[in-house]
Symmetry: D2
Subunit: 101 residues, 4 copies
């Protein structure tokens, strides 16, 4: 299953880089396959292991602030492993062209 998530600390100023860096360190250390993009991070795995990771990231950001808004999008499809690489590749195959990633 794929989950994309994004964590926004509210009320600490408009530069969120220090918090986001801390979150990415946790994700990178988790061992789960991930891909970071300018609006969030996509992680592949089972429900419980990804949710444990997101909770850890959310709670870490919450420590340094008073309010945190986190959004999660889940795409769960039976019998489809390695979708973190496969989804975009299959679109490129259909189009017959490499896309910007």
């Amino acid at each position: 299953m794929l989950m994309e998530f994004s964590i926004i600390p509210i009320g600490i100023g408009s530069s969120l880089g220090a918090n986001i860096a801390e979150v990415l360190k946790i994700i990178d250390a988790s061992g789960l396959p991930y891909k970071v993009n300018p609006m969030g991070t996509v992680v592949e795995g089972e429900w419980d292991e990804i949710m444990k990771l997101i909770k850890k990231c959310h709670k870490t950001v919450m420590k340094s602030g008073e309010r945190v808004v986190t959004t999660i999008s889940i795409d769960d499809r039976k019998g489809k492993p390695n979708r973190i690489e496969g989804k975009v590749r299959s679109i490129e195959k259909r189009i017959g062209k490499s896309l910007k990633k």
Copy 2:
């Protein structure tokens, strides 16, 4: 903390009412404070209890289909209980007018 979530079964046709009804029965039976709206359901509680509920709803819909897309938005604010009633009420107070709910 508040979480709004929405569960969409993909590939079972464009009428999702039977699945959504099943999900709402589970939410209503959970005992957690909730409010349903035309685009999702807002639940108030602690991280683990709400996530347990969302997982149960997601897995229930997954049973009857091959693919499910679930989205979750979390608003976590320290020291603010009963926000499921309080957030909209405090806006109405500021505006001095009752809003459509």
Copy 3:
């Protein structure tokens, strides 16, 4: 078509009430059918009229800050008018029970 949206000013502190009140005043004055909930506002209408409203709300909040995060969810279904009332009502009919709103 239904759109739910939520506008979060970043970096102005953790209390967002004044900004949200301003947004709700604009929505309420728009004349479009809407329903506010603790996590956002659902509006019913055509693409262009709702997007014009959301842009106005987003730009208004942007005036008083440096960074704004806005999320929009769109549910577009052919030949289904008055879904802002009808969606929840049809679920209640299926369940045979009134839900919390």
Copy 4:
């Protein structure tokens, strides 16, 4: 400003690849800077030009189905151009490590 969006046709089966390919062709032809990821596409530009693109994509998918769910996340920050490259790069600089993209 950055917008990430994702378009899901409902009721046409669980394989959405043909529709997504059509959407990506439109995005790629738009000339706007974009990055595709396994859960959506991030585009950089001004409000009106990105919204025109998203509307075109949404309407194209709507032609071949009865129901479409589209989600949009907007991150608008004053005086920050080229964030589609810069956001992730600045996180990598802070961490002192290249992230998976």
